[in-house]
Symmetry: C2
Subunit: 427 residues, 2 copies
């Protein structure tokens, strides 16, 4: 039996776009793992009427599970619990034991901010200790408790807004009796992801169209393709009985796109590069990416085993002084040129004592473009101490932010190819 769910994200700061929502996507991922079918995510501001309308909409859409995020704070505009109580037809009552536990959590905070208004804090704590009749309490991960509230048709899981608190509370929420009573009925779903680089999305769409004629049971697969940071992701969700159909599709993609398919086991490009690096060290030399390449290489826990460091040489003088790029070369070829990228990579190898180095120099815009080197022009060079080399020059589309981000994707794939043994023929 399929379990259908909806997510309600609350908060005027999210609705108005001032803060990017991280909770909806995160909970969506957990639901996917649990085989729960997510139908809708809705976002509303701190207005009780809009929140209640969204809850009623999700109920009318036959959801079994509704997860709300945010609006559990101590202040007056935090209204979620009041609205959920009304929606589920349950009265709110103060839970003195819970109130005492919240007060205990606040003690160190009160000690750290001695000027805090104690009366305001007490009022906030009393508000946070209001529990709808018959609801299960989820212990606070910050100061706000969560709740699981049975409503008429659906069960409402009420979670706090700060992503860290929400994520810390999730294991208790999803293991609770009230949650399992609903979600335990979900089917066993599997999800697989293929990743390709250097191919337009329409080519994958065409391959999937061809699969329609040749793969039996294709309709039982829920396949989505999407462009993500310059890569194409093909994700499929299916019941265990459709494993064979999925295998056939994966084989067809591997057969038709052997050069661009780089991950079949869900590994990201970060995973692939980290595993190829094993035992070797890497450094970067960056201009237009301004540290984003180094930040991406150090994003993973444990990256200190392979990342030695990076020199960001934004100014031309820095390219010369810190990476040993001859000033004459910059003058002759320009700071954005394959030759300067090459010299930056060589400089990073030597100065950082790394086994592999990646250099990026380009024009992120919006200014600085010329007729021959328009905004978006970027040169990459990856080098090993053994002298293997891979270079790339491309004009990236998009605005400054997109160009800078895409720089790092191209860089990751250049590293992947170099570490995998590819190299340009010697000049």
């Amino acid at each position: 039996m399929s379990v259908r769910a909806g997510i309600v994200v609350t908060g005027t700061e999210v609705l108005t776009g001032r803060v990017a929502d991280r909770n909806g996507p995160w909970i969506a991922g957990r639901m996917l793992e649990l085989g729960i079918e997510l139908a809708h995510i809705t976002i509303c501001g701190d207005r009780p009427r809009d929140l209640e309308a969204q809850l009623r909409f999700l109920e009318a859409q036959a959801t079994d599970l509704i997860v709300t995020t945010g609006g559990l704070g101590p202040t007056a505009d935090d209204l979620t619990l009041e609205v959920v109580a009304r929606f589920s037809g349950r009265g709110l009552a103060r839970d003195p034991a819970l109130e005492a536990r919240i007060a205990k959590i606040l003690e160190p905070l009160l000690a750290r901010w001695p000027d805090l208004d104690a009366e305001a804090v007490r009022a906030g704590t009393a508000k946070q200790a209001l529990v709808p009749a018959g609801a299960a309490v989820l212990e606070p991960a910050g100061t706000a408790p969560g709740m699981i509230v049975p409503a008429r048709r659906a069960t409402v899981v009420v979670l706090p807004g700060p992503p860290r608190e929400l994520q810390a509370m999730w294991p208790a929420a999803s293991a609770s009796e009230a949650f399992l009573a609903v979600a335990g009925a979900a089917g066993d779903y599997r999800q697989s992801t293929l990743r390709l680089y250097g191919i337009p999305e329409s080519e994958i769409a065409e391959t999937l169209r061809r699969a329609q004629g040749t793969v039996e049971g294709l309709d039982a697969l829920e396949i989505t393709t999407c462009l993500r940071r310059g890569e194409v992701e093909v994700t499929v969700r299916h019941e265990p009985s459709s494993e064979e159909a999925w295998r056939a599709v994966a084989d067809l993609i591997a057969e038709r796109h052997p050069d661009t398919l780089f991950s079949t086991d869900g590994a990201t490009i970060e995973d692939v590069v980290a595993s190829l690096l094993r035992g070797r060290t890497v450094a970067t030399a960056e201009s237009c990416s301004g540290g984003l390449m180094a930040a991406r290489l150090t994003d993973r826990a444990g990256s200190s085993t392979y990342m030695t460091g990076s020199t960001i040489a934004y100014a031309n003088e820095a390219k010369t002084a810190l990476l040993g790029v001859p000033a004459g070369l910059i003058e002759a070829r320009g700071a954005v040129s394959p030759e300067v990228a090459d010299a930056m990579a060589a400089g990073a190898l030597e100065r950082h004592g790394a086994d592999v180095a990646l250099a990026i120099t380009g024009i992120a815009g919006p200014g600085g473009g010329t007729e021959h080197k328009p905004v978006g022009t970027v040169c990459w060079c990856a080098r090993t101490t053994e002298g293997a080399l891979l270079a790339e020059r491309m004009r990236l589309p998009g605005d400054r932010r997109e160009v800078r981000d895409r720089c790092t994707t191209v860089g990751m794939h250049l590293l992947r190819r170099l570490l995998g043994g590819e190299a340009d023929p010697p000049a």
Copy 2:
């Protein structure tokens, strides 16, 4: 008269959390500027029934304007226009002139990917040239045209999913006759933002509570506060007639929180630091932030006028070789210590030839923590060539990602204070 709006974001990759939605927040920002009251954002997958349900929900919520994003591609799972046509009770008809314009746009793409299936491309183009009766066409910014479709109560603005295409299409959409017929009725709203750093959100809540007793016309202000990357943002939206009430609230906040209020004109910390830097150059020396500080300082267009570069010294040997931090100091005090942060800043000043340098060294986790230096412990040091110095040591909450990000916020504010003339007393 107030104009009420909803946004529908479509796409299984967004619903399932694999891709973060950038369109909802962006359109929300535009609506705020136009004085349109945004009530709901809803997200659905590529399922026609769920999309139609969301359109009907927004209609029932008395919206005048509905903006949809995504689902306009050439492939079979791009269904938005079909659903919007059904929802608005309008038939779809092929527009041969539009089809020819799309084909023209595709010509260079076809030349670049010679293996593309021409028949599949033709079928996709024919699909994208279907127009609901009576709809206004918005010329493609990529290959997909947008549409403005009058429905029963609301007007539906149908926009493509790629953020760049959507943003490029917005000026034409919002200037169109069909759009202005609805949105032209919106009131004149103003929005102001105050930003504070180093203060808990509850303190601002308390100040706003006090305002209730003293500020006349407070109820006419729509005030929201939120925590964002370690700062507290207070945003108010109001009609011009409430300007005085807003001024009174702003004055009260300035009076009660003089040390933590750093922006009253909407300027971000990036704006403030960039403007304080005017004429001076900055460099960074980074360990745990792994390039994120440099990336943040180079995020703005024109940052090359003040950013010289950065040395990311992830390994201890790199701190010694590239920043001149004595190996004995690292051994005696540890890589994460105020002394090493200080030496890193001094090294960055000298090697990058900058006027100001900021160093960050810490334990981002999840591993590497000790009893005395648990995960999240970070030391910062900001220095000028004149010898002024500001140091900070803190234990940041959160996971690796949050610690690394928060590092940069603390770093920005240390730079702001140093550039503003603050300095620690000489040791």
